[in-house]
Symmetry: C2
């Protein structure tokens, strides 16, 4: 809805009809948390929808517009609302829109990419500032909060997803929730964060080592994940199969004996949601287009010891335009902090 | 699911069966963001569910258990998943569980109330500290972030909902999203925040005036909303109709000529979600029980000028036990800051 209409007031519904489009809101957008501003070509219907059920109200509006069928997003609509729509508008044939809108969203225009680019700059800034501060002795939770505050200070709408800070044995785990564990000398520290800017969400992940010099196993593991991540990045091109990008990165880790316990995907699309199509995974079907922003984020986690994740957001571009555009430019050297 | 099983790993599903209960997860809970720890009486099934569809996997498990019917929560389940369940388990009769679990959750036990009480203490602390700092010149967004950081510093899992800070003409609006407007002399400042503690969410809202002395209209409006809020609080008792509590508060504002633009409810239940049953609203059906925690949060917003909201979380208790227990104890005097 945010994509098609420019705004997403809480609990509202978008009705696209043959003649005119409607944004149906239970109360004026000023009264409710909203995101963005509605497109001026939309009629804004404010309906005192009973129980706030704007979906049912929209179905009523469709009937009033002489529609004979209504395609709904069955993967979002609940069974209870579907039934309510069917009973209020029994003359409407209810069909499934499927993921048509998600498919439209995969390729971004330059305005969308520019929001992602600014978001990535903000995330780079927040991360850079953190690296200049004292880290030993601070908790994962505290560092994550600090990063989120900096994101907003630099102009983000907010974090793109819950910031992940993982130390020591937690490091390298995807989506690790920060705990009260403190940073210690010799730890791997892996950080994954992102900014939301005008609704668009990006992602960056880096792994550092705490102390003057990393141990041999840390250097080895880092080099390996770095090589896998580079292979994934280099495989990004218009026409490349999703699974081939995944395989390029995964193969490097597989051949080093880390086949087990690898995360199910190497990367994914980003945009208005942090996790959208495409999925870069072994069984994914389809090929990349130009102007598709994706993450490349392989990682290895050794239970009890920790691990490494390196995560960038890039935009697929043809070779003639210089190949994939890296949005998250923080260094990927192994820094000892 | 979190209520019945003690844990809510992302994307998991709870299957309650005649003989044994199952928590069905797509991957081990350690790998995925989770909340709480599963109850020991549950069997944890880790399923490599295709597409992560644990609901479909749970239906398969129900068939394996010789079940002949399965009640699902139709107000949460999507049409697409419902169809997938039906096709994988065509011998199961699919029924609607309705809001049975939500109804179970309305009355809290003392352990749940104790989590809410601790959450309220944390919110009181965070708010108290903010009031001791310099406010003039700071933006709504900055103050909201500062409050959220303090919540976590004092031991909250996180904010219970997006913290609302509203200054000047924004003040008094329910759910106002913080902007870059700065606090000015003479402003009303209304703040609404809450802590999540062990999954339980509370809420407190206060309105202050910035400067040495409030204007007459500010004192008048404040006294009015305070009187409405007190009337609402005093109406809380086991057996009181939801609509009567709402009316007690609403009547005060109505008779002062503020009938228009009043928010649709005076308060609501809190617990694992910030907004749960009951709703204290004009058309709500039902009566309060003892040990139901609710908010009482009337407010008036004058377009262009601002307004006042006062919001407490209380637990309904019989008169013999001292009447409603106030969890959020920050003063409700009109403070000039």
């Amino acid at each position: 809805m945010r994509y098609l209409s420019g705004a997403a007031p809480q609990g509202s519904v978008l009705l696209l009809s043959r003649h005119e489009d409607f944004l149906v809101c239970a109360s004026p957008p000023d009264d409710r948390p909203s995101e963005g501003r509605p497109d001026e070509s939309l009629t804004l219907h404010v309906l005192p929808a009973p129980g706030g059920d704007t979906a049912v109200a929209a179905a009523g509006l469709a009937v009033a517009q002489d529609a004979d069928s209504l395609a709904v997003e069955e993967h979002h609509l609940t069974v209870a609302r579907h039934r309510a729509i069917g009973s209020v508008a029994s003359q409407l044939r209810l069909a499934d829109l499927g993921c048509a809108v998600e498919q439209l969203r995969v390729v971004k225009d330059e305005e969308e990419i520019s929001c992602l680019r600014i978001g990535a700059e903000i995330a780079d800034q927040a991360l850079g500032e953190l690296l200049e501060s004292i880290l030993v002795g601070r908790t994962e939770r505290h560092l994550a909060l600090e990063l989120e505050r900096r994101l907003v200070d630099h102009g983000a709408d907010g974090p793109a997803f819950p910031t992940s800070v993982a130390t020591g044995p937690h490091s390298g785990r995807r989506g690790h929730r920060p705990t009260d564990r403190r940073v210690e000398e010799g730890d791997f520290l892996s950080v994954c964060l992102g900014a939301t800017y005008r609704g668009y969400r990006c992602e960056i992940g880096r792994t550092f080592v705490i102390g003057t010099s990393p141990a041999d196993w840390q250097v080895e593991l880092y080099d390996l994940v770095f090589a896998a991540q580079r292979a994934g990045r280099e495989a990004l091109a218009p026409g490349a199969a999703f699974r081939d990008v995944d395989r390029a990165a995964r193969h490097v880790l597989d051949s080093a004996g880390h086949a087990e316990g690898l995360q199910p995907l190497t990367g994914h699309g980003v945009g208005l949601e942090i996790d959208e199509d495409p999925q870069l995974a072994p069984a994914a079907m389809g090929k990349l287009d130009a102007c598709v922003p994706v993450t490349v984020e392989p990682g290895v986690h050794l239970p009890g010891r920790g691990g490494v994740r390196i995560d960038d957001t890039l935009v697929v571009r043809p070779e003639a335009d210089g190949g994939p555009e890296l949005l998250t430019i923080t260094t990927k050297e192994l820094l000892a902090l």
